[in-house]
């Protein structure tokens, strides 16, 4: 129902640290792309649609403001976290 079901089966069993780091070194944060000898390339919305089957169309995700009471309730009632542990975790919310 969330549109994220495909993600349950896409994760690689292992990550190639050397490969990832070599690309990360080429990242330019101010323009969000990799500088390569052939010019600029980047991960685009179209890549997300094809690689992970995520929907491009739709609203931007907006995060609900979370106070410590609501966070506590969610942890205890929905995720079955021990009350004491939940209080400890949400103390700094």
């Amino acid at each position: 129902m969330s549109g994220l079901g495909g993600l349950l089966h896409t994760s690689f069993e292992s990550l190639d640290r050397g490969l990832l780091c070599a690309f990360v070194e080429r990242w330019h944060a101010e323009i969000n792309n990799f500088h390569l000898p052939v010019g600029e390339m980047t991960i685009t919305l179209d890549d997300l649609s094809n690689l992970l089957h995520l929907s491009i169309v739709g609203h931007f995700y907006t995060q609900k403001t979370l106070d410590s009471d609501l966070a506590n309730d969610l942890l205890v009632e929905s995720l079955r976290v021990d009350h004491g542990l939940a209080s400890e975790e949400t103390r700094h919310c």
């Binding site: 129902m1 969330s2 549109g3 994220l4 495909g6 993600l7 349950l8 089966h9 896409t10 994760s11 690689f12 990550l15 190639d16 050397g18 490969l19 990832l20 070599a22 690309f23 990360v24 080429r26 990242w27 944060a29 101010e30 323009i31 969000n32 500088h35 000898p37 052939v38 010019g39 600029e40 390339m41 980047t42 991960i43 685009t44 919305l45 179209d46 997300l48 649609s49 094809n50 690689l51 992970l52 089957h53 995520l54 491009i56 739709g58 609203h59 931007f60 995700y61 995060q63 609900k64 403001t65 979370l66 609501l70 966070a71 969610l74 942890l75 929905s78 995720l79 542990l85 975790e89």
Partner: protein
Amino acid sequence: MCMKTHAQGGSGLWLSELTYFTLSVALFLWTRVLHQSVFYLGFFVDLRLTVGYSWASTALTHMYEQLGDCSYANTKKLAGYATLLQGWIYEHFPSIGMRRMQALYSEDQPRCRLYDAGKGTSIVVVRPQLNTLTPTSIRFCPYNEHREERPFEWISLFCGYLRLGNWTQLHMSERVLRQYEYTQIIPCNPSVLGHGHPDTNEMNRRWLHFNDYVIHDYAIAPYPDTCVEEYMSWFRSVSHHM
């Protein structure tokens, strides 16, 4: 604390949906979930809204954010959903890195499932491979055989801010036109593409009226790596690595 380990037991639609959703989203929020789990609970409060979200822009904003954090000199770790970056590399750079192809893959599955990680590659091996990349060794637009499953959408050419909660990141398709089978031009300055830094409402409005922020008159590239004549000299003049 890790939410995944606590998302078990109980009954009722709310819990099962929350569990499913948590597992899904945690995949690309994973590293942060481990350390800031309570912060991320805010994303799970009203699940009825989830089906209408642009998950592609959510995931991409998160990826750009993490890659940006990695650009700081003292950063040692990359957070986020690294499968996305690794899959992207596999798709676009067939000559770099070791990967296994999945024999049972069919095009109705996400393209990441075409691959599995092979033996790891040393960074000292990859660096010279990147330094000597040629246009013909790159698949700028690798998804032609996948278009029946995921048709091209004009909104993917959107130039402007993507948003995930309070995080905002520029999607600058104009800088990577070859990935859309267009001839690469010398791009605008990022501040022009972003049209200043709009507030949240204005960002939402531009996204929903994306047609005004997609340029329609780019030239189709005769070859996958076509760029205007001045592009490479411009690029060499602005790039720190060349």
